[in-house]
């Protein structure tokens, strides 16, 4: 082919079939067997398609629909958490698989106020979920991502977070500190129905 050869773009001229005529001649009447088979075929496929969609949608949407109730999880003896201080603790998440490896372990911040009075904060910044760090001298939690800061009681101190730190419900059983845990706290599901939220 030469570089300057004109190109025919109209398909009609190359056409092999006069499609219009063919259709008119061969179009079966509405009541014909051929037409019945077509309609039956479409109908069967609609039913079959619907049937196979049920398990597919059920499988895909199961995590959307499923409820993951929080479970009491042990953080260890309360003697691990000196009064008036804030310490890091970790627990194995209730919902974990044998092949989860390190990701099954979740850290959290424990504030022992006094006696049996505690606060347990999620590690995740309420802004975008990065891990907050406790600075004992300035008594602030600081986030390394976008500069969010929280006071020692978890209240919002500075930066973009929309609320104070997420908290866990806790109880003390036989000298052990237990928290109700299981989910990654987020604004859609903060993971503690008992908490009173402090707005930013």
């Amino acid at each position: 082919m030469t570089p300057d050869a004109p190109k025919e773009t109209s398909p009609a001229k190359e056409g092999c079939c006069q499609t219009g005529d063919v259709q008119v001649v061969n179009a079966p009447p509405l009541t014909s067997r051929r037409n019945f088979l077509l309609q039956l075929g479409i109908g069967l496929n609609v039913v079959a398609g619907a049937l196979i969609t049920v398990p597919i949608l059920g499988y895909v949407l199961s995590t959307f629909v499923k409820k993951f109730p929080l479970e009491w999880t042990n953080l260890g003896p309360i003697s691990n958490f000196p009064e008036g201080e804030i310490r890091i603790a970790q627990y194995e998440n209730f919902y974990h698989r044998p092949w989860d490896g390190e990701t099954a372990k979740i850290p959290c911040w424990v504030r022992h106020i006094s006696g049996n009075d505690f606060q347990v904060f999620a590690i995740n910044c309420t802004h975008l979920g990065c891990p907050v760090r406790w600075f004992a001298e300035s008594k602030l939690f600081m986030c390394p991502c976008h500069g969010g800061a929280y006071y020692e009681n978890g209240d919002h101190a500075a930066g973009p977070p929309p609320r104070g730190l997420f908290t866990y419900e806790y109880r003390i059983t036989k000298g052990n500190l237990e928290i109700k845990a299981g989910i990654l706290p987020n604004l859609g599901n903060p993971g503690n129905p008992t908490e009173k939220v402090q707005a930013a």
């Binding site: 570089p3 499923k66 993951f68 698989r97 989860d100 390190e102 300035s138 976008h146 500069g147 500075a158």
Partner: protein, 510 residues
């Protein structure tokens, strides 16, 4: 004799080719695809970016498939297999590196391609679907980039998913459930990695190939945009005829006459990816994906740095809107662009607004990316114990002021406040704070906070506040007076002389 034999061989070869062609119609396929006619004006260096993007994708598919030979998408093993690829499999590190740099090149070249198409008015009639399929390709490519950084299952990947979950969790009503669906359960674990793996390796590559099929089909059907001329307007009634005339007058087959520059650009792209891959090496993996290692300071890959920056700079009341509402609006706008601006001028010199839009977007993205890389809003987490105090901020100060300096250092103020550029950038530099704020103002700010600073009232004794304020008041350039309250009488003479002494000492040593 020899001539005769040659002729026989040629005839036989032609015969075989004729048979093959008759059965599978290669010449016809060729003429309708690679050999399709393009306007001579499009055989230009400006038109090589589409094929270069496709080349990047081919490199990604090839290296990605090879990486999958060793990668195990399970949370307890993915990290180890990345190390295995890096250190044990011959050239494993280089394939990881090529795959990483290939993704950077692909996003960058795709953006250049899109910019060229926009500035050359190629999205106008009759190439709306070509443009819209291109927008889909951009979105899928960004999806591949995001899921790809999760495949590098390290600390950044772990917290990166956390950021994705936090954004998803902001959706009204269904936020919590949407997070579960994103993560494949209630927390970030192996099921999360498996679903990102499925997206990255099956769903998105399959979809991108299908859409590329549509994109290329549209290029063949509606032709490649001719080089625009100022003053030549697109008109829906006459354009098709106009384009047919161009093809008749100066059309030439893409292969072999139009592909030369694409081939050269392709070789440059492969060379560039290889060079970067060899010089800079593969990215990570960084620390293991262990959430209890909380010293992580997660950062996204390069292409998402601008979003990271927006998340820090956006006022908090706008944030949910910016993260959830703005993206669909922007994407929707990109989709309908060909219909908003369907005809008329194509040449950029007659479309000043389009040029401004491009400049604005590149400047914004560039600036945001730069901010993302430097992230001045993040506290410098170890500044309080690691950053030195320059000597001129120590020498010549009174014991009370030095006590204040110790408070400043001990109470971790420097995580956010630099002194003369050393320390965090979150708050203002304190090197000359004494010439901006008076003692009462400084005390108020320290105790009550405000303007993005936490309140330290509960955390500092009155003596500590006094010392800290005294130190900050003393921080002003030599030979200048500290800030004064204009509503009150000037500083009493006794105070003045004390400050003057401190100043002179400050000046001599500083």
């Amino acid at each position: 004799m020899i001539g005769n034999a040659k002729k026989k061989v040629t005839d036989a070869a032609l015969g075989i080719f004729g048979w093959v062609d008759d059965r599978i119609h290669v010449t016809e396929i060729f003429e309708h695809t690679a050999g399709h006619h393009i306007p001579k004006s499009t055989s230009s260096w400006f038109y090589v970016f589409g094929s270069a993007t496709l080349l990047c994708l081919i490199i990604q598919l090839l290296t990605g498939t090879l990486l999958a030979l060793a990668y195990v998408p399970a949370a307890d093993q993915a990290y180890t297999t990345l190390e295995f690829l890096n250190y044990h499999i011959p050239f494993g590190w280089l394939l990881r590196s090529i795959h990483y740099w290939g993704s950077n090149f692909m996003v960058a070249i795709m953006l250049i391609h899109m910019t060229q198409v926009y500035l050359f008015g190629a999205y106008k009639y009759p190439r709306e679907v070509t443009w819209m399929s291109g927008v889909l390709l951009l979105l899928i490519t960004l999806g591949l980039a995001f899921t790809g950084q999760v495949m590098r299952f390290d600390e950044d990947a772990y917290w990166g998913i956390g950021i994705g979950a936090a954004i998803t969790g902001r959706s009204p009503v269904i936020g919590g459930q949407a997070v579960q669906m994103l993560l494949g359960g209630p927390i970030i674990n192996s099921e999360t990695l498996s679903r990102f793996f499925t997206l990255h390796v099956f769903v998105l590559p399959g979809t991108i190939l299908a859409i590329i099929g549509l994109h290329l089909r549209m290029v063949l059907l509606k032709g490649i945009n001719e080089w625009p001329e100022p003053g030549v307007l697109v008109n829906r009634e006459t354009y098709d005829k106009h384009y047919a005339t161009i093809i008749r007058r100066e059309g030439m087959p893409f292969v072999p006459h139009g592909i030369g520059k694409d081939l050269i650009a392709g070789a440059v792209v492969i060379g560039g990816i290889l060079l970067c891959a060899i010089i800079f090496g593969p990215k990570g993996p960084l620390g293991p994906p262990d959430p209890t290692q909380i010293d992580a300071a997660p950062r996204p890959d390069f292409f998402f740095m601008w979003i990271f920056a927006i998340a820090a700079l956006m006022p908090d009341y706008m944030e949910t809107v910016a993260l959830l509402v703005a993206p669909p609006i922007v994407i929707g706008f990109l989709f309908i662009l060909p219909f908003l601006n369907n005809t008329g001028e194509k040449h950029w010199s007659r479309r000043p607004f389009a040029v401004l839009v491009v400049l604005f977007l590149y400047l914004s993205l560039g600036l945001l990316t730069w901010w993302g890389v430097t992230s001045p809003w993040s506290p410098a987490m170890i500044a309080w114990r690691a950053d030195p105090t320059p000597t001129q901020f120590i020498k010549g100060h009174t014991p009370l002021e030095l006590e204040g300096l110790v408070v400043l250092q001990q109470k971790q103020c420097r995580n956010c406040h630099a002194i003369d550029g050393i320390g965090g950038q979150r708050g203002p530099d304190l090197a000359e704070v004494g010439s901006r704020l008076t003692a009462p103002e400084l005390a108020r700010q320290v105790i009550q906070g405000g303007g993005n600073m936490p309140a330290y009232g509960k955390n500092l004794s009155p003596n500590e506040v006094d010392a800290l304020v005294a130190y900050m008041v003393s921080l002003h350039p030599a030979g200048t007076t500290p800030a004064q309250d204009s509503a009150k009488p000037a500083v009493p003479p006794a105070e003045n002389s004390k400050n003057a002494k401190a100043d002179s000492a400050h000046g001599e040593n500083g």
